[in-house]
Symmetry: C2
Subunit: 555 residues, 2 copies
C-alpha cells in the first residue's frame, strides 16, 4: 500500500478553500499512485473552530464538505478530520472524528476518545469522548486510526484513564495512523515525536502521523508530520512551518535509513524555531483576516526593531509602515537607530511627534494633576498618545497595528493599557526579553540590520528623564528565570527560592504578575511559541486573592 501524508494549511470556516486544498492534495497523491492520503485533524473545517461548532449551519457545512470530498475519492482513499454528530443520545452533540473515505462514501468514522481540555485546549466544550475504538480493513490491511491526543497516554500516566491505541491493538491492526492538530511550542517537537515512536514500538506497528501546519490566530501549527517503523524508528518527517505532501510505500519502509529523534533545542536553534513560528503566524493571521498591510510604532528599542524585521520578512517591505513617535523624553539616538533600521529594511517611515498631543492632554488635566507628583499617569499619557495616533492611521488606511510588547514586560505589567498594549496582534508577547535579544542576534547574524545600539543600550521606555527598565525591574535574565519557572514550569514560590532566587524578589514578581492580570485580560491575541503563553492558555481570576501562592515558607 502507498500512503501519502498531506500536511496542509487550512482556514477555519472557509469550506470552499479547505475543500479545494484537500481535493488538490488527493489528486496529487493519486498521481503518484497512492492508495491512501491522510489529512490533519478537523481538516474539513479547520482547527480550532471554537463556538462556530455550536452552529447547526456550520455543522451542516462540515458534513456537506466531507460528503463532497468523499465523492471525489474514487480509486483512492482519504482520511480527513471533521465533526460528527453524536446520534446515540447522552453526552455532547458532536464527536471529533476521522473519516475513512473511498468509493465516493464515508466508509468508517473513527471517534476521538481523549479530549484535551487544558492550556489552550477546550475540546470537551464541544465533543463527547468516545469509549469504543474499532479498526477497519482497507485493501486487505487493518487500519488503527486515532485522532491526536488519543496516542498521548501510552503509560496511562496522563490526564485520562484509557489508552485508545492499546484498545485498538487488540484487533491486530497492520498499521497505525494518527491525525493531529498539535500546536507548536519551541520545545514541543521532541516530546511529540517521542510519544509517536513509543506508540509504534509498543504495538510493533508502522505509524503514519499527519499534523496540521499553519497559523490560526494565536495558535501556530508547525507540521512536521512523521513516519515510524514498527521498532519506533523515525523514518521521515515532513517540512516544518509549511505545507508538504510525501508518499511512502508501506512495504519499503525498512529501506529508509532511520533518523535520530531530535533533542530539546538550545539557544540558536530555539531562536530559529521561534523566528520561523512568528513568521508563519504573522503571515497567516494577515492572510486569513484578509489584511495586507501592517503599521507599528518604531521606538529605537529592541522590541519594536525585532517586530519590524519579522513583519517585513512576512509581508514585504512595501506592506509595512514604521512610525516614529518621539515624545518629550525620547532620545535622539533612539530616533537615529529607528531611522537607520527602517532604511536598512527599505520600509516607509514617518516621524510624528506626540509632543503637541501630550501638551494638550497635560493642559486639559492640569487643573486636576496640579500639585501631584509626576508619575505613572503622566507616563501613560505618552504611551496612549502614541497608540491613538497609530490607531488613527490604522483606521484611516486599513493597516493592522502590530503590538510590540514582549512576554517579560507583559507578565509584570510593565506596559500601558490602551498604550503600548494596543494592537491587532501581539508578535513578541510570548517571547521573553532575553529571547528577543536572541532573535536580534539571529537577524544580525550575516550583517547588521538592527543597529547595534538598539541591542546594546540599556532598555528604557523613555517615558521620563534617564529612565531605565532596571529602575523598576530586576535585570531581565533574573526576571525571565523567575517567570519561566512560574509560567512554563508551574513551580511554586518555595521551589523557585529553592532554585536560588531571592525570596523577596520572587514574592514581588508573583505579586506583579497577579496584579497585572486585569491588563492582560484586554491584550490582543499573542502568537504562541511557548508551552505557557499569557493568552487564552492561562486563565486567572482578576480579583482573586493571590496571597496563598505568593507565600514563601519561613518568610
Amino acid at each position: 500500500m502507498r500512503i501519502a501524508l498531506a500536511q496542509v494549511n487550512l482556514h477555519v470556516g472557509n469550506f470552499p478553500h479547505n475543500r479545494q486544498v484537500i481535493l488538490e492534495a488527493i489528486d496529487r497523491a493519486g498521481s503518484t499512485g497512492a492508495d491512501l492520503v491522510v489529512f490533519p485533524e478537523l481538516s474539513v473545517c479547520g482547527y480550532p473552530s471554537r463556538d462556530l461548532l455550536f452552529s447547526d449551519a456550520y455543522i451542516a457545512a462540515c458534513l456537506e464538505t466531507t460528503t463532497q470530498i468523499a465523492k471525489h475519492c474514487k480509486g483512492i482513499a482519504a482520511i480527513v478530520g471533521g465533526p460528527w454528530p453524536n446520534k446515540e443520545g447522552g453526552g455532547k452533540k458532536l464527536y471529533n472524528a476521522a473519516f475513512l473515505l473511498y468509493d465516493g462514501k464515508i466508509q468508517h468514522v473513527f471517534r476521538k476518545g481523549l479530549l484535551p481540555t487544558y492550556d489552550v485546549f477546550d475540546e470537551y466544550r464541544y465533543f463527547e469522548s468516545a469509549d469504543a475504538f474499532r479498526t477497519v480493513t482497507y485493501q486487505g490491511l487493518r487500519l488503527a486510526v486515532t485522532v491526536c491526543e488519543d496516542i498521548w497516554n501510552p503509560r496511562k500516566s496522563g490526564m485520562y484513564a484509557i489508552d485508545p491505541p492499546a484498545l485498538l491493538s487488540r484487533e491486530k491492526p497492520d498499521l497505525m495512523i494518527n491525525i493531529s492538530a498539535s500546536p507548536f511550542a519551541w520545545d514541543h517537537l521532541p516530546g511529540r515525536l517521542e510519544i509517536l515512536s513509543e506508540n509504534a514500538r509498543l504495538h510493533q506497528l508502522p505509524l503514519f502521523a499527519c499534523n496540521l501546519v499553519g497559523g490560526q490566530t494565536d495558535l501556530l501549527f508547525d507540521g512536521v508530520s512523521a513516519v515510524f517503523d514498527p521498532q519506533g524508528n523515525l523514518m521521515d518527517t515532513l517540512a516544518a512551518f509549511k505545507e508538504d505532501l510525501r508518499v511512502y510505500d508501506l512495504d519499503a519502509l525498512d529501506q529508509i535509513p532511520a533518523k535520530p529523534l531530535p533533542h530539546k533545542p538550545e539557544k540558536e536553534k530555539k531562536w530559529q524555531l521561534i523566528w520561523d513560528a512568528l513568521d508563519m503566524g504573522l503571515r497567516d493571521y494577515f492572510r486569513k483576516t484578509g489584511t495586507r498591510k501592517a503599521i507599528l510604532g518604531l521606538s529605537g528599542g529592541i522590541d519594536s526593531a525585532v517586530t519590524l524585521v519579522i513583519a517585513v520578512n512576512a509581508l514585504g517591505p512595501e506592506n509595512v509602515w514604521a512610525v516614529l513617535l518621539p515624545g518629550p523624553h525620547s532620545t535622539q539616538h533612539s530616533i537615529d537607530d529607528a531611522v537607520a533600521l527602517a532604511e536598512n529594511l527599505g520600509v516607509r517611515h514617518d516621524l510624528i511627534s506626540i509632543n503637541d498631543t501630550v501638551s494638550a492632554l497635560e493642559n486639559s488635566l492640569e487643573p486636576y494633576f496640579s500639585g501631584t507628583d509626576s508619575g505613572i499617569a503622566e507616563e501613560n499619557l505618552q504611551a496612549r498618545a502614541r497608540s491613538i495616533i497609530l490607531m488613527g492611521l490604522s483606521n484611516k488606511f486599513g493597516h493592522m497595528l502590530l503590538n510590540t510588547s514582549n512576554k517579560s514586560e507583559a507578565a509584570v505589567g510593565y506596559s500601558t493599557l490602551y498604550g503600548d498594549m494596543s494592537g491587532g496582534l501581539s508578535v513578541l508577547g510570548d517571547v521573553y526579553k532575553t529571547d528577543v535579544y536572541g532573535l536580534a542576534a539571529l537577524i544580525n547574524k550575516e550583517k547588521e540590520i538592527i543597529p547595534s545600539n538598539s541591542i546594546n543600550k540599556p532598555p528604557s521606555a523613555e517615558l521620563k528623564p534617564d529612565q531605565k527598565d532596571t529602575d523598576s525591574l530586576p535585570p531581565y535574565d533574573v526576571l525571565d528565570g523567575i517567570l519561566y519557572r512560574l509560567l512554563e514550569e508551574n513551580k511554586d514560590a518555595d521551589a523557585i527560592v529553592g532554585d536560588g532566587y531571592d525570596a523577596d524578589l520572587v514574592k514581588t514578581i508573583i505579586r506583579l504578575l497577579s496584579q497585572s492580570e486585569y491588563k492582560r485580560y484586554q491584550t490582543p491575541p499573542i502568537l504562541r511559541v511557548s508551552p505557557k503563553c499569557l493568552g487564552v492558555g492561562r486563565q486567572m481570576p482578576l480579583e482573586g486573592d493571590y496571597r496563598s501562592i505568593i507565600h514563601v515558607r519561613g518568610k
Copy 2:
C-alpha cells in the same frame, strides 16, 4: 434533624476570609440548634478559582482550610465544597468535591460527576469526573449529597450520559442535598428551581439546595437557595443577591405551606432582576479588588446615565466621579442633561473639553489624512481622546474606569476600541439597548432622576454633525430581536428569517457581529446577566470565515 442552609458570599483565593465566613455561619447555625449546615460549591476557595487550581500551594491552602473548618465542627456537621486530590491515578489531578465534616474531621468526600464545560464553564479543565456515587449516614439518616450540575440530567437528555441522583437513590437515602455555584441570568431561576423540584419528586425525597451568592468578576451568583418536600413542592427560598442563613426542621417540612414555582420574568420584573444583579456585581468587583472609587465619562446619553446611577447606588455618591468630555460635535442639550443627572445624584462632576486634544491629534495627522474623506478614523480620535483623559484621571487618583457600552452596540462593533470600549469593568455590556431603556424606566419610576431628554432623544454617538445611531444601524428593537435570536437562542440565519426578519438585514447583522470579534477580544470583563454574554462564555475565531453561518437559503 435541623438543617441550615448558609448562603454565603466568598472571595476566590481569600482563605482567611472564606474560613471566617464559614466558621461564623457554623456558629450561628449551631446557636439555633442546627445539626447540619450546608455551604455552596467550592466554598473553601471560592468559585471560579480558574488556573489557581493548577498551583500546588493553592491546593494545599484549600485542604488546610478544609481541615481547619473540620476541626471547628464539634457537635454540628457541615457540608462545604472544595477541590480534592484524585489519588487513584488516571485522569485529572482533582475532583470537585463536597465534604461532610463532623467530630473534627473530614468524614466523607462526595465527588462531582457532571462537569459543566460550556458557555462560561470549564470544569473539565480542572476536574476529573466521578463515576461512583455513595450516600453516607449521619445521625441515623442517609444523605445523598450532589454537587451542582449532578442534578441537571434527570431525563438523561442533557450533555452527560449518567444521572448521579438516580445512582444515589439506589441506596435508599432519606434526603438529598445539593451544593451549587449556579450563575445568574435573568431567565435562569425558573429552570433551576424546576430541575430541583423534579429531582425531589422523582426520588420522593426532601431536597436542600444551597447556592452561592455574590459577584466574582463577570460571574454573578444570585443565591436563592431552596428547599423542596418529597413531592417536589417548593417550601422556601433564601434571599436573592445577598447572604442568608435559614434553618429547617426536617420533620416539620410538611408544616410549611408550599410556594409556587416562579415563571420566566416579564419586562419590569426582568429589569428589576438585572438591576439587582448589576448592583451586586459592581459592588462585589470593587470590594474584592480592593477598589473604592469609580470614574466614568458622562455623555448625556442613556447608557452612561444608567451606568452612573448603578455605580452611585452601589458605591455611594461620594465614591463616583462623573466627567463630561464634550467634543466638537457634542450638543449643549447633552451637556445639560449630563449635568442635571450628576446634580440629581449629588456626585462630583467635572467638564473637560477634548477639543484641544482632538485638534492636536488632527494637526499631527493632517499630513497623512489630508485629502481623504472624514470618517471613522476622525470619529475614533474623539472617542479615544475621551478614554485617554479618563484613564489619566484613573491612573492618577486610583478610580476604576467604568465602561458604559451596551450589548447591542458591542455586538455589532458600533464602538471604538481603546475609546468607549475602555474600562476596568463593563456594567451594561450584557444588557441590550432596549433593556437599558427598561432600566432607565425603573430608575425613574418614583421620580425623574435621569432627565427625560436623555431617554427620549434619538440615540447618537455625537462624533459627527447630526449623527444618529440609526444612520448605521436598524432601530434597536429590530436589532435586539435579531441579536437575541442569534446569541441567546442560537438560531441560524434561516430560522431568524423565518421569524419574519429581513434576510439582507439578518446577513448584515451576522456579518457585523463576526467582523467585530477582534474588538470584543480586548473588552473589559462584562457583568453577565443573560444566558449568553459576549464575554468568556462566547469564544469565536477572530479570523474564521463566517460565510457558512451568514448564508440564507434561497438568497
